[in-house]
């Protein structure tokens, strides 16, 4: 007996296995490995939030984007930052409009307080939007940047799939949204939140997969240059740098080479474009010392 999330099971009716979801994701331009596809499939099948961690640039955020287009549902994004609170994440009342409405009511002489707290004066922030527009993918990006009080609050909304607004009433999602949380591990996220999620650690892609990603995203890129860039980036990652380059960096790098009209990656063209991959001076120095293009 599989209790399946009623939401997205419609969309994944055609995707009954992780492999089918993988090909759905590939069709959107995101090439998942077996682990990512399995994690995403299970999140949909079990209706559990998916908690993604991994080095920057391993495709956490883009997985959420790809999922929304593969499942053909809207994506709602909540970018977390220090000091984020309920009025930025959940809802806020549109005070100026309420005031204006009140003035109008006063002049007509019949003040009906209840009419001030109706849906049209409610500003839906990402969480409320997600509850209202489900089925959808809700991306809670960089949860580690928010404060831990916010985490507790998020936990409450996610476990209820509903929120109650004192003046207005309860808003409940007809079908729970598919929630994807990402973290860069700048701080430890509380276990209570992780416990309700599926946990997946994203690795940098393998060489073959990275070549495939480069080729897919940059159709102008020659097979040879893609292989060279991917191989060089892999060597850089093995160097144990301050900030190892992610897939985003290899895409940037390939794009920089394309823009300069280079069709091969040698020491000279690598040195000219190194700024696209390595953003720390120590890293660049070290890479140059090691003779990066090879």
């Amino acid at each position: 007996m599989t209790t399946r999330n009623p939401t997205l099971s419609l969309s994944i009716g055609l995707m009954d296995t992780p492999e089918e979801l993988a090909s759905g994701l590939s069709a959107t331009g995101y090439l998942p490995d077996g682990g990512i596809a399995t994690a995403a499939f299970l999140a949909v099948a079990m209706g559990r939030p998916l908690f993604l961690e991994g080095e920057p640039g391993t495709g956490k955020t883009s997985l959420a984007l790809a999922l929304s287009s593969a499942l053909d549902v809207p994506l709602i994004r909540l970018q977390c930052h220090e000091g984020i609170d309920a009025t930025q994440a959940l809802y806020d009342w549109d005070f100026p409009r309420q005031l204006m409405h009140l003035r109008v009511l006063e002049s007509s002489g019949s003040v009906d307080e209840a009419s001030l707290y109706t849906r049209r004066f409610l500003l839906a922030r990402p969480l409320l939007q997600a509850l209202e527009s489900a089925p959808c993918v809700l991306l809670v990006d960089e949860i580690d940047r928010a404060d831990d009080e916010f985490e507790a609050f998020l936990l409450e909304v996610l476990s209820e799939n509903a929120v109650s607004i004192p003046e207005f009433g309860e808003v409940r999602a007809s079908v729970p949204p598919l929630v994807v949380l990402t973290s860069n591990r700048t701080r430890e996220v509380h276990d209570a939140l992780k416990r309700r999620c599926l946990y997946h650690w994203l690795e940098h892609p393998t060489l073959d997969r990275e070549v495939a990603i480069l080729r897919r995203r940059l159709p102008d890129l020659s097979e040879r240059l893609a292989a060279q860039v991917a191989a060089a980036v892999h060597r850089l990652r093995a160097m144990d740098l301050v900030k190892p380059p992610g897939v985003a960096e290899s895409l940037d790098w390939a794009q920089a080479l394309l823009a300069l009209g280079r069709d091969t990656l040698d020491t000279e063209s690598a040195a000219a474009t190194l700024g696209a991959v390595l953003k720390y001076r120590e890293d660049a120095e070290r890479a140059l010392r090691a003779g990066l293009a090879g």
């Binding site: 007996m1 276990d191 650690w201 120590e282």
Partner: protein
């Protein structure tokens, strides 16, 4: 069915013994997930919660499900043993309190693993930014905004408070001959700190070497090799006063918590050392002296260096065992 169930539940027991936090709700999620995808991924996605869990999970999975059909009892014993680095819980407890200059190779490996489990929390200082708070000084801007929202009515005042930011921590590690048995452990400790909070690390002895950059390496072994390459005076003599003078001249430690790891054996002039400690104390937030010998029974601070410096030190602590380092961390946090 119940057979498969008990195999799965048994697996979660092994994981728990290996240190993964698989509580009942995780186990339930695991069993549900197993209905959708293969056992490896079902467990990995529901029972792990940290990248550190993954290698342990893989190892346990291999031991439990790998090879022929798993036999229950003997396997568990072996797995748990392996995963615990061949140490029982009571051994770990002993190890925590053991002087780390006296470890045998196996204990040293375990010590290194346990070091990684320290979760250092930086001391905090008040920052410039203000943020909304439940109490504290009244926040005029927010209060007025709220009044405007309320159409000019009087509202309850809003409050604000300063945000807090991590305070810098400076570690000065004596790598001279008399400290050689501790230097490796202390630098590894510094590496753990450097990976989780803003720290500056210098080694002292006959000369001052900044190793903060070397400690930025993720992998502890790589970092240790880089430090060894950078530090020319490993196991040399001790001229603490002069090295600290170089430190106060070159580096600013304003507002930082300075931790000095040394046994205080000074070959040079103790007065110079005292003077430098005093200078550091004047500009820093706090000075903590960690002396590995201070943890031993019957210790008296008689070394010339320590005697001279003691009046300018906020706190003298030990730092010879894991537990002592943990205490040191909480001193740093409170400083």
């Amino acid at each position: 069915m119940s057979d498969a169930l008990s195999v799965c539940v048994g697996f979660t027991r092994v994981l728990r013994a290996a240190g993964l936090a698989c509580g009942p709700d995780r186990v339930q999620a695991y069993l549900r997930a197993a209905g959708h995808v293969d056992l490896y991924w079902a467990g990995r996605l529901t029972l792990c919660a940290d990248p550190d869990d993954l290698p342990r999970y893989d190892k346990a999975f291999q031991a439990w499900f790998g090879g022929e059909r798993p036999r229950m009892r003997p396997r568990i014993e072996v797995t748990v043993e392996q995963l615990r680095l061949g140490l029982a819980a009571s051994d770990v407890e002993v190890l925590r309190h053991k002087d780390f200059s006296e470890l045998n190779p196996r204990e040293r490996e375990a010590f290194r693993q346990l070091l990684k489990q320290l979760r250092p929390v930086p001391p905090k200082r008040r920052a410039r930014r203000m943020r909304k708070a439940a109490k504290g000084p009244v926040d005029p801007r927010r209060t007025i905004r709220k009044m405007i929202e309320a159409g000019g009515e009087i509202v309850l005042p809003e409050h604000r408070r300063r945000t807090r930011k991590p305070r810098r921590v400076v570690l000065l590690i004596d790598v001279s001959g008399s400290m050689s048995a501790y230097a490796d452990g202390l630098i590894r400790f510094a590496h753990v700190l450097a990976r989780s909070m803003p720290v500056e690390v210098h080694t002292i002895g006959t000369r001052l070497t900044r190793v903060t950059r070397q400690l930025r390496e993720r992998d502890p072994e790589q970092a240790m090799r880089a430090v060894a390459r950078a530090v020319p005076d490993y196991e040399g003599g001790t001229r603490l006063g002069e090295t600290l003078q170089a430190f106060t001249r070159q580096w600013r430690q304003r507002g930082a918590v300075v931790v000095l790891f040394s046994d205080g054996w000074e070959r040079g002039d103790p007065q110079l050392l005292a003077e430098q400690i005093r200078r550091i104390r004047r500009t820093s937030h706090a000075v903590i002296w960690a002396n590995p010998h201070a943890g031993k029974p019957g210790y008296e601070p008689v070394q010339s260096g320590i005697l001279a410096a003691l009046p300018h030190v906020d706190r003298l602590v030990a730092g010879h065992s894991l537990e002592a380092l943990r205490e040191l961390l909480s001193e740093v946090r409170r400083a």
